[in-house]
Amino acid sequence: MIALIARDLRLAIRAGGGFGLGLAFFLIVIVLVPFGVGPEALQLREIAPGILWVAALLSALLSLDRIFALDYEDGSLQLLATAPLPLESVSLAKAVSHWITAGLPLVIAGPALGFLLNLAPAAYPWLILSLLIGTPALSLIGTFGAALTVGLRRGGLLLSLLVLPLYVPTLIFGAEVARRGGEGLAVQGPLLLLAGVTMGTVALMPFAAAMVLKVNLR
């Protein structure tokens, strides 16, 4: 499993636009919003937590279809399926490398970009925390969606439509944590819910993804 994560990370760094693409997209969204909305500082501050979370979600969504598609097309996935590694581990490894390449950079870059949107100072720690807790769920759910649609026609479209509803709770709680943090309100409630969602996906998604992969490889 570690071998697979290491390979995927190496591939992501070397090629295929994995590493950094999500981050670039995140940055682009954040930079574009003032272009489109106009740069009034107060208005930006109000929408900042929401926009940051929406951007994080979009940039995670963006790279989902690469999780399995490349390996499917060049035959690696077939070979992995006949290898001694169980497909559950394959799915988990894929989710982990997706998170490292697409989720972690968002957590790190979040604050810097918050600055561009004039985020309230008090919101920074909560933004980071909510991203840190929430993004793994995005990767795990996405891995399941990618497994579900690998090799399908119209895969990309389906993937976004399938994954989106599953993403909404994470988005809502995540943005809520950052907003309340910024306004100095209690954040415990949404924070616990956010953590709960992530726990649930960790427990379920790898298995669901493996089942679905097995069917799609037939």
Binding site: P34, F35, G38, P39
Partner: protein, 246 residues
């Protein structure tokens, strides 16, 4: 002997190596003198107060940020038309210097904007196209790095450079097209009426000269580095190939 002979890598290195220290020295002298003169020995402006001192950094760097791109444009065109490798490498070498200049202009402009316009950033045409130019610089460097074949990289980046020139020119002349921006118009024009007062003008010219010389020195040095990299690559390729054949 034609000028194109200098496009031969060896000839280029032989000719420029003795020049580089001179350029660096002259650049250093004019920058130090110009900045010290400007910083310590010019009066405050009656409207802008001491912030006028930022002009000695902002104007030369903004000027060079745009000029660097135009120099890259010329070098790229020479590469596309005459396929002189040194030309392509000079364009590659100039980009990071251009990025530094752009960053300086952006920072100093933003710092200057806060007291002058009451905001450190505005979506005014000149500022916007300058920011886009900055993004182009980043894309240009990233494109060079992403391509392993040097000739392909030179071709693609040259074309990108041509496209980006639109924004380089816009950020210089946008003020003339739209008369609505916040940003100053030409303050160094030959028209005496509009010029900055002489007290500011002389050190400013010296600083501009310093930035130009520094740019030249850096570009020559970096072009030599790029030629060296390319030569390492070629020699290693040949060595590896001889191994395989043996």
């Amino acid at each position: 002997m034609s000028i194109w002979d200098y496009a031969n890598p060896k000839k280029f290195i032989a000719t420029t190596t003795p020049l580089v220290p001179w350029f660096f020295g002259l650049a250093g002298v004019s920058l130090v003198v110009g900045l010290i003169w400007g910083f310590f020995f010019t009066p405050d402006d009656f409207r802008q107060g001491s912030t006028v001192k930022i002009i000695y950094l902002h104007v030369p760097s903004a000027l060079m940020a745009i000029n660097a791109w135009l120099m890259m444009l010329v070098a790229s065109l020479i590469w596309l038309i005459r396929r002189h490798h040194v030309s392509a490498l000079a364009a590659k070498a100039a980009a990071p210097v251009g990025i530094a200049m752009t960053l300086i202009a952006l920072f100093t402009g933003a710092i200057w904007g806060e007291p002058m316009w009451g905001t450190w950033w505005a979506w005014d045409p000149r500022l916007t196209s300058f920011l886009i130019l900055f993004l182009f610089y980043l894309g240009y460097v990233a494109l060079w790095q992403a391509i392993s074949d040097p000739d392909t990289a030179a071709d693609l980046t040259s074309i990108l450079c041509m496209v980006g020139s639109v924004f380089a020119l816009l950020s210089r002349y946008a003020v003339n097209f739209w008369n609505q921006g916040l940003h100053q118009g030409a303050s160094l024009s030959l028209d005496k009426e509009e010029n900055v007062a002489d007290v500011f003008y002389q050190p400013l010219l010296l600083c501009i000269a310093g930035f130009v010389l520094l740019f030249l020195a850096l570009v020559l040095l970096r072009t030599r580095t790029e030629i060296g990299r390319r030569r390492i690559r070629a020699l290693e390729m040949r060595a590896r190939r001889q191994e395989v054949r043996a």
